[in-house]
């Protein structure tokens, strides 16, 4: 696949965000994380992010190593484990990670409540002296749908596509992000909304799916399109910005 674009996402989320997302998605108990399952999911996501040429921060890789380490410690019988003299004996290898996740989650909850307060405050006005409002138009986050939701949806599309009979792995045509951008805009010329999955209905190869996805990300960044989800982990709607 030739990429004339290297799509860089402005929203910078990290490994703890991804883990909390997976914990929620898999509906597991944060205090008793099934390490093997979560590690596998985590690695799958990492692979996709790298496949898409997304900038994967070093912290993601460090966390991958940490998860592997914890997993290995939990698999080995106690007498074969190397006892790390710095840690207490008998300590659950997941403890530090869980502590970190629980704390982070609390701050995330606080942030959510702050967000609601921000919303409330935006409807309340007082006498103003100088209006010193800065409009920071350059930072437009993927607020309503997280990057992990998009990757999740992308993964679904990829899985469904590879299951089809007429799906090729060998690239016959060259797809560029620019072309796909034009194509998506053309598809939306008479309509305002389209389902995420519908954008990939005509794709015949993995490369085409990837390039289409990158084009979508770019259009979001350019604020030509926005994405919304009605329910958590539900279908994603792609909406044309007026």
């Amino acid at each position: 696949m030739e990429s004339d674009y290297r799509v860089k996402l402005e929203v910078f989320e990290g490994p703890l965000d991804l883990l909390l997302y997976l914990i929620k998605k898999e509906e597991v108990d944060i205090y008793d994380i099934p390490i093997e399952r979560i590690t596998n999911q985590y690695m799958e996501y990492l692979t996709i992010m790298q496949m898409l040429n997304l900038e994967v921060a070093g912290e993601f890789l460090v966390m991958a190593a940490t998860l592997m380490y914890i997993k290995s410690r939990m698999l080995l019988p106690a007498d074969q484990q190397v006892i790390d003299t710095e840690e207490d004996e008998g300590e659950d290898p997941r403890w530090e990670l869980i502590r970190q996740l629980v704390e982070y989650k609390k701050f995330k909850d606080a942030a959510l409540q702050l967000s609601r307060r921000e919303e409330e405050q935006s409807n309340i006005f007082a006498r103003r002296g100088e209006v010193g409002i800065e409009v920071d138009a350059s930072k437009a986050p993927l607020a309503e749908v997280s990057i992990f939701d998009l990757i999740n949806a992308f993964n679904d599309v990829l899985k469904k596509a590879t299951a089809r009979d007429d799906f090729h792995e060998i690239v016959e045509e060259r797809f560029t992000v620019s072309d796909k951008i034009e194509e998506i805009l053309y598809t939306l010329r008479d309509r305002t909304v389209i389902l995420f999955s519908a954008l990939f209905a005509q794709a015949t190869s993995r490369a085409e799916i990837v390039v289409t996805f990158l084009a979508l990300l770019e259009l979001i960044r350019l604020k030509r399109l926005k994405v919304r989800q009605d329910q958590a982990f539900g279908e994603i709607h792609v909406i044309k910005v007026a």
Partner: protein, 225 residues
């Protein structure tokens, strides 16, 4: 006298372009002069701060009861007259402002951490979030929501950050203790260290969080603070 004091204070709040503290109001009352009616201004010279506070509380109750389109609120350490949310559409049109963009999730998280753990260094913030925070800190500094409040004593003497007055106003908070989850998360650095050490010593079996078991609830259904 109480009646008129309330009205004077109401007038002050009406004209002020920022929240006024009870202290400031008391000072205004102590220093204001009225050449045409010297006696009247005189009579408020010795009003105490406690009286101002009481008058403000009464004013707040009365304004709510009379269902005025405005309300008296405590915000950012002071008092202010603000409109009610129902009138937002028309006020937005009138003021025709470009309101600042809503903050992104990473910004809000970083801001929460700083607000609840200040003063705090960049490295400690990053440790909690699990990622670098350089870009976010730059944005928050630019928007005057955080500021540098000092330097740490540890080697390297990194900068410490804290929240600003504007932060309180932006989110409609009275003070930092008014933050969501303040009771749970607002630990001084020293207390946090002690808590960590205590947990490590008593650690055995399945992990139990440092706070009580009820915290388990927060992970499946966020508590309404």
């Amino acid at each position: 006298m109480t009646l008129e004091l309330k009205k004077i204070i109401e007038a002050l709040l009406f004209a002020a372009e920022r929240p006024l503290t009870t202290k400031e109001i008391r000072q205004i009352l102590a220093e204001a002069t009225d050449e045409e009616n010297p006696g009247v201004a005189e009579s408020f010279r010795n009003v105490r701060e406690a009286q101002v506070a009481a008058a403000l509380e009464e004013l707040k109750i009365e304004t709510d009861a009379a269902q005025h389109s405005f309300q008296v609120v405590e915000i950012a350490g002071g008092w202010r007259l603000v409109s009610r949310a129902e009138y937002a559409p028309w006020l937005k049109k009138l003021l025709d402002e470009a309101r600042p963009h809503r903050l992104s999730q990473p910004s809000l998280e970083t801001l929460s951490i700083i607000a609840l753990r200040q003063p705090i260094s960049r490295a400690d913030i990053a440790a909690i979030r699990g990622v670098e925070v350089d870009g976010v800190i730059k944005t928050l500094l630019e928007r005057d929501l955080i500021t540098i409040v000092g330097r740490s004593d540890v080697p390297g003497r990194p900068l410490l950050y804290g929240t600003t007055q504007r932060f309180l106003e932006h989110f409609g908070l009275r003070d930092v203790d008014d933050m969501p989850k303040a009771a749970e998360l607002r630990l001084q650095a020293a207390a946090l260290k002690t808590a960590e050490e205590k947990v490590e010593k008593t650690q055995a079996g399945p992990p139990v969080p440092p706070e009580n078991q009820d915290e388990r609830q927060t992970t499946t259904a966020p508590q309404q603070d």
